[in-house]
Each structure stands twice: as structure tokens, then as C-alpha cells.
């Protein structure tokens, strides 16, 4: 909590320090790297975590304010674990700090992705189920449903309102000539209150900058970069009706850079297409993959695997 408080007060200084640390980490780590991670922040494709591996990811969503709004930084930590070849589970811890307001821990989420088909197909479906225990002050905007988050009311009003929500997504994803094309259809139900079902969507396309790997070990090779674009937004609810004009929608270029053997950096500036929500969202992410995490934990407890 203290961390978030400091972050909201000194966010420029913290951002500078964080980027310096990330750069240092990038320069000190080996240049060999793994298969590129998806560059998306909101859209899911059909690729799951390798079984037994743990990916530790930190993200921030920063909202540039409109008149009458305050800027905010919403950091979140994601632990992504490959349970089986076709089952990935993730735990999220999230917070939020708003300039001239306060900093709060906004809750946690537990999500699961299941891939029903064993082989690659033209369209690959993935089923997504999530439970959220968050407050109304949550602003990470990992997805946008209904009318989007409240980015105007103060934390003192929003934080006491707790939500227990179930969310389902149908993820459809294709690989066409080295392009990934993915679409997510989202339905969310707040089981704490009668808000009906809220809906949202996310689409993304992405491609590596180079499709042939060079023989040399390099950090700035084009093959280490993925670029693309995402489009996401809310579609109203069963209570307020299906609507698109007064809900937030964003278009967001995305880029990811495989920095090291296990680490990658992502960035995405999202621009609002409607007058709802924040006009610009700046998203940063760093992920680090712990290979063979399951065996490492088993060895800690005397196991052989």
C-alpha cells in the first residue's frame, strides 16, 4: 500500500527509475531469447503458457485525464502458470494511485484459459473464465465491459464498493502468413449487485518485424520485435441496453521487444475513439518467464522432478 502511495506522489521519478532499471536489466542479461510473447495488453490469442513454466508480469495502465478528471496510474502484477498443455491459470493483484487523491489496493483476479482443440486450426478457440474480487476503484482496464470504469469519482467513494464478478470470454485466434489475428468476446456478471450482464470486445493483429532468424546473437534484431494494433471497448449491458456510442472504445498500437532470454518489454498508447473514459491510456509491461518452475518447486520439497 505504501508503495502505491509513493508511486502516485512521485510517479514521474518512479517511472524514470523503473525505465533505468529495465534498461540496466536488458543490458546485463543474455541476448538469446524465447519464442516471442504476444504484444497485446487486452486481447488474448490462442497461445498458452508452457506447462510447468511461470511467467511473472508487471504492468501499469496510466490514464491521461480530460477536464475534470485526475491522472492515475494503475499497476498490476500477474502470475501466469502453465498447469497443463491446454490449461493456463493466472493470478492478478492490482492497485491504483490517482493524482491529488489517494492510492489503494483494488483487489485480485483469478483466471483460467482452456484450449479445447489439440491441434492448430484455421481458427483456434480458447475458453476463458475469471473470478474477480475488486473494488469499484479498479482502473487497470485489462478489459473494458459495459460502460467502462468510473474515472471521475474519488477513491473515497469508489473503494468501499466491492465487486465479486464472474467473467467469460470466447477467444478466437488465427495465424495467417505470420500474422496473428485474434478476437475476444466478453461477458461479465457482477454477482454482488443486479447490474445484469455487461459485454465487451477486443480485437488484435500482430506480426514479428522479421520472419527469418539471423545466426548471430543480437538484442536489437528485427526478429526480437513484434508490432500490431488492438481495438477494444465496452458494449453496454442487459440492464442499460446494448450500446456503443456512450461507452469507451480504444485503438492502440502495440509493440513488444524481447529483451533477454526470459524477459520482454511491451508498450501501447491507446487513443479513445469516443468521449467516454480517459482520452489516452499509456500501458507498459515487463514479463519474466521462470522456466521449469514446477520442477524447481518440487526440488525445494525434496522431489526429483
Amino acid at each position: 500500500m505504501h508503495f502505491y502511495l509513493q508511486m502516485s506522489c512521485n510517479w514521474k521519478k518512479t517511472a524514470l527509475q523503473a525505465s533505468s532499471i529495465l534498461w540496466l536489466v536488458a543490458m546485463l542479461t543474455p541476448t538469446a531469447c524465447r519464442a516471442q510473447e504476444s504484444p497485446y495488453f487486452v486481447t488474448y490469442d490462442h497461445h498458452l503458457e508452457e506447462p510447468g513454466n511461470l511467467e511473472i508480469e508487471t504492468y501499469t495502465t496510466s490514464g491521461i485525464p480530460r477536464a475534470g478528471q485526475n491522472a492515475y496510474v494503475a499497476p498490476y502484477l500477474e502470475l501466469e502458470y502453465g498447469v497443463l498443455g491446454r490449461w493456463t491459470a493466472e493470478l492478478y493483484l492490482e492497485g491504483q494511485g490517482t493524482i491529488a487523491d489517494s492510492a489503494v489496493f483494488t483487489g485480485w483476479r483469478l483466471e483460467n484459459r482452456f484450449r479445447p482443440l489439440k491441434r492448430e486450426h484455421l481458427i483456434n478457440p480458447v475458453f476463458y473464465l475469471e473470478y474477480e474480487s475488486t473494488s469499484e476503484a479498479s482502473r487497470i482496464q485489462k478489459e473494458i465491459v459495459g460502460g467502462g470504469p468510473d474515472v471521475i469519482s474519488p477513491n473515497s467513494e469508489l473503494q468501499p464498493i466491492k465487486n465479486h464478478e464472474l467473467e467469460a470470454k470466447l477467444i478466437l485466434s488465427s495465424t495467417v502468413r505470420d500474422w496473428n489475428i485474434a478476437g475476444n468476446f466478453i461477458a461479465e456478471k457482477n454477482v454482488s449487485r443486479g447490474e445484469g450482464f455487461e459485454f465487451g470486445y477486443a480485437f488484435g493483429v500482430a506480426r514479428p518485424l522479421a520472419t527469418l532468424a539471423s545466426g548471430a546473437s543480437c538484442r536489437l534484431c528485427r526478429e526480437n520485435f513484434l508490432v500490431g494494433v488492438e481495438l477494444y471497448g465496452g458494449l453496454g449491458s442487459t440492464v442499460d441496453g446494448f450500446r456503443v456510442h456512450d461507452t469507451p472504445h480504444y485503438i492502440a498500437p502495440v509493440v513488444s521487444w524481447q529483451l533477454s532470454e526470459n524477459g520482454s518489454l511491451r508498450f501501447s498508447p491507446a487513443v479513445a475513439l469516443t468521449s467516454e473514459g480517459s482520452p489516452v491510456l499509456l500501458r507498459f509491461g515487463y514479463s519474466y518467464e521462470v522456466r521449469d518452475f514446477r520442477s524447481k518447486i518440487a526440488r525445494l520439497f525434496g522431489g526429483k522432478r
Binding site: 538469446a32 531469447c33 524465447r34 519464442a35 516471442q36 504476444s38 497461445h47 508452457e50 506447462p51 510447468g52 502458470y81 498447469v83 497443463l84 498443455g85 491446454r86 490449461w87 491459470a89 493470478l91 485480485w108 483469478l110 484450449r115 489439440k118 491441434r119 492448430e120 473470478y131 474480487s133 495465424t175 502468413r177 505470420d178 514479428p208 522479421a210 520472419t211 527469418l212 532468424a213 539471423s214 545466426g215 548471430a216 546473437s217 526478429e223 532470454e261 522456466r291 521449469d292 514446477r294 520442477s295 526429483k304 522432478r305
Partner: protein, 139 residues
Amino acid sequence: MRAAIYTVLVFAALSAAYGQNTGYQQDPGWRAPSEAEARPNPLAKHPEAAAGGEKLFKRNCVECHGDNGTGLEKKHAADLQLPAVQQQSDGTLFWKITNGNPDRGMPSFSRLPELQRWQLVLYLRTLKSASAPSHETKK
């Protein structure tokens, strides 16, 4: 908060219980369709591309198949030097890299661009054991 901790603990226990690898065996059901099997390697006339394949192999494959492709026992991973592997066509190896065999621990590498998967196939051909009889690559 207590409910959250219990949920996470129960989930972790379930994950561990269901996350066991029961041991590697050649999966007779893991067969490439005939059209995939017949696909030639577009990089076959560019042996220099194998250097990139080696880099990709070290990035993505040594974790289970070991530095020289002989397969790590603890991972129940296939020995890629075996004739049983080397006798498979380029198209079959490409199909297996692309699709994986997720229920047997082999992930799909369709995330890699197509040419990089062909580079991996090119490099796999260099892993033939010195003691193994040489085999012509099936096209």
C-alpha cells in the same frame, strides 16, 4: 481476504495434482496428415539458415531436448538424434513443431514465424548421431 487465500491454496493444490507428467512415450496418435508430411522445406537450398535454426533451438528446445537434442530424461523428451525421428520427413517435423502435442508436454510453436520453424527443421537435420546410420530426408 481469507476466502481469497483459501481459493488460491486450493487452486495451487489442484494445479500441482493435475500437472504431473506421466512419462514420455512415442505417441502413436501424433501423426502428421499426408499433405503436411509431403511439404518440402523451402530453406532446403539455404543451409546457411541452419545457423538461425541453431539459435532458435537453443532458445526454445534445449530446455527439454538438451543441448545436443538427445532429450532430457526428467522431461521425458524425445531423443532427436534417433533414426525414428531423423527418418521423418521435413514436413512431418515442421507439422510437429507447429502443432505440438500438448497432452504429452510438447508445446505448439505456431507462435514462431513459419520460416523460423523451417529453420528449426534444418537444424534438426544436423543433429544426427555419428553412430546412427545416415538417412535420406523424405520429401
